[in-house]
């Protein structure tokens, strides 16, 4: 049986490397002081005082403020011994000691500034970790709540006897599923900001074709999706639009047909384009999305407006229906918002 790490074991594991690096850093700093002092002695009157900052920085950053101070004083003493013998010979006894004390003080100030910076960095890291943990928890709760809503819809649908009524609940569950998958993708990426909509579109199309292909119809799905990055808000809305278009094609495009083809395309550009095309029976004569469409198309029009995109619904030149959504490639600021959406049909 595989054993799971206990909290105490984890704590011990996390502290051991820190202790080793602290000792190693101190040893390295002392060695550096010795090497610089030797060079300082060899070079005679040429002062190498600035080079002692290296061991001071190493000691402070990796072993803490006290060790930094110790190495600073040690460096000043080394500098005094290595560089100041001639001055003593001149009879100016106090000046080298005074200079060494000033040097030790300078190293001390560097130590203090560095340790303050290190503490600030550690605090920032802690805050980022806490925020990431909170965000993870929020995503977790969102998905659990989506599961509960989906379950409630399923339980409610059980009481219905009319298959058409049940289908409405199933569609709602599909929409929830689509949103949940986006949360999953965002969470898995670890970025919590942008996600690849192409991957989501592919997964959603495959899922919907698996569950909504009309009985007796052999349906081929072709997905050509460029990677297109976007924020969660846009992705959720665009995902719901794709969900409606795919469901619409699956529900109405292949009635009484034994075979068909559904094509989904996502092309990166400016604007980006998302196209859902079926080779079914096409739009009914006199179709007007603004006046004679069902809830699905009404939702598509509303959501398209919401993300400042344009929609084009038309009969495919070869066969069937083709719907294209043109959406901006960069997030729009409030000043760039269009007052009215453009609509083609």
């Amino acid at each position: 049986m595989n054993a799971l790490a206990t909290p105490s074991a984890l704590s011990e594991a996390s502290t051991t490397p820190a202790r080793i690096s602290r000792t190693a850093a101190t040893a390295l700093a002392i060695a550096l002081v010795a090497v610089i002092a030797w060079l300082d002695c060899v070079t005679g009157d040429f002062s190498l005082a600035v080079f002692y900052l290296a061991p001071v920085v190493v000691a402070t950053w990796y072993a803490g403020r006290a060790t930094g101070w110790f190495i600073g004083v040690l460096s000043a003493a080394a500098w005094l011994l290595a560089d100041q013998t001639p001055s003593q010979a001149d009879g100016e006894l106090l000046r080298p000691y005074w200079n060494a004390a000033m040097l030790a003080l300078t190293y001390g100030i560097v130590t203090h500034l560095l340790s303050a910076l290190e503490q600030l960095q550690a605090e920032l890291r802690k805050r980022v970790d806490r925020r990431t943990a909170s965000l993870t928890e929020v995503h977790h709760r969102v998905k659990n709540n989506l599961q509960i809503i989906s379950s409630l819809l399923m339980l409610q649908a059980e009481k219905l006897t009319n298959p058409a009524d049940k289908a409405v609940f199933d569609e709602c569950r599909d929409r929830i599923y689509s949103m949940a998958r986006l949360h999953e993708q965002l969470y898995s990426s670890g970025e919590f900001s942008d996600l690849d909509f192409g991957a989501h579109l592919r997964e959603m199309a495959e899922m919907l074709v698996r569950s909504h292909t009309p009985p007796g119809c052999i349906l081929a799905l072709e997905v050509r999706a460029d990677p297109v990055a976007m924020g969660l808000d846009t992705a959720v809305t665009l995902g719901l639009i794709a969900n409606e278009l795919l469901l619409n094609a699956l529900k109405h495009g292949f009635d009484c047909r034994r075979a068909g083809k559904l094509t989904v395309e996502l092309r990166a550009g400016n604007p980006n384009q998302m196209t859902v095309r079926d080779d079914g029976r096409g739009l009914p004569p006199g179709f007007d999305a603004r006046t004679k469409a069902g809830l699905g198309i009404e939702l598509v029009l509303g959501m398209t407006r919401q993300i400042h995109a344009e929609v084009k619904i038309e009969n495919d030149p070869v066969r069937g229906t083709r719907t294209t959504i043109f959406f901006p490639s960069l997030p729009l600021s409030q000043t760039e918002l269009k007052s009215k959406p453009t609509y083609h049909d």
Partner: protein, 133 residues
């Protein structure tokens, strides 16, 4: 493998109800449900299910993984995890606990069936190879 007997371990009552109905509609039999690890262990001992569908996060912690370790070690019953998120760390622990698969929340009927069938087949193959050796 339809008619397989499944134990559901999940602490969210609404999700349990939906799972029960979905599993029954897929042709499985739900032998029992449990909402905590100790309850799950007792239910496995009592009902001897073919498979356990287990929520990873029970009562605020990842106790499902601990329960799965015990179930796999003591009863040799395959466990499929039900989880809201498939992050690398949790999945690594799930794999170490001997998980036979996982289903992401919110679940779909097709996803549930695929995960259960794969787990049952894998378990059967494992048991047969164990018998041969």
């Amino acid at each position: 493998m339809t008619n397989a007997r499944i134990l559901i371990v999940e602490d969210e009552a609404i999700t349990v109800s939906a799972l029960k109905r979905e599993l029954v509609s897929l042709g499985y039999k739900v032998t029992a449900t449990a909402s905590a690890t100790d309850e799950a262990l007792n239910a496995v001992e009592l009902h001897k299910p073919d498979l356990v569908l287990m929520d990873i996060t029970l009562a605020g912690g990842v106790n499902g993984i601990v329960a799965a370790l015990a179930i796999r070690g003591n009863f040799h019953v395959p466990v499929v995890f039900l989880t809201a998120h498939a992050d690398d760390r949790t999945m690594e622990r799930a794999v170490n606990a001997g998980a036979f698969g996982y289903v992401l929340k919110p679940f779909s009927g097709a996803g549930l069936k695929a995960a259960i069938e794969t787990a049952l087949h894998k378990h059967q193959t494992e048991m047969e190879s164990r018998r041969v050796s």
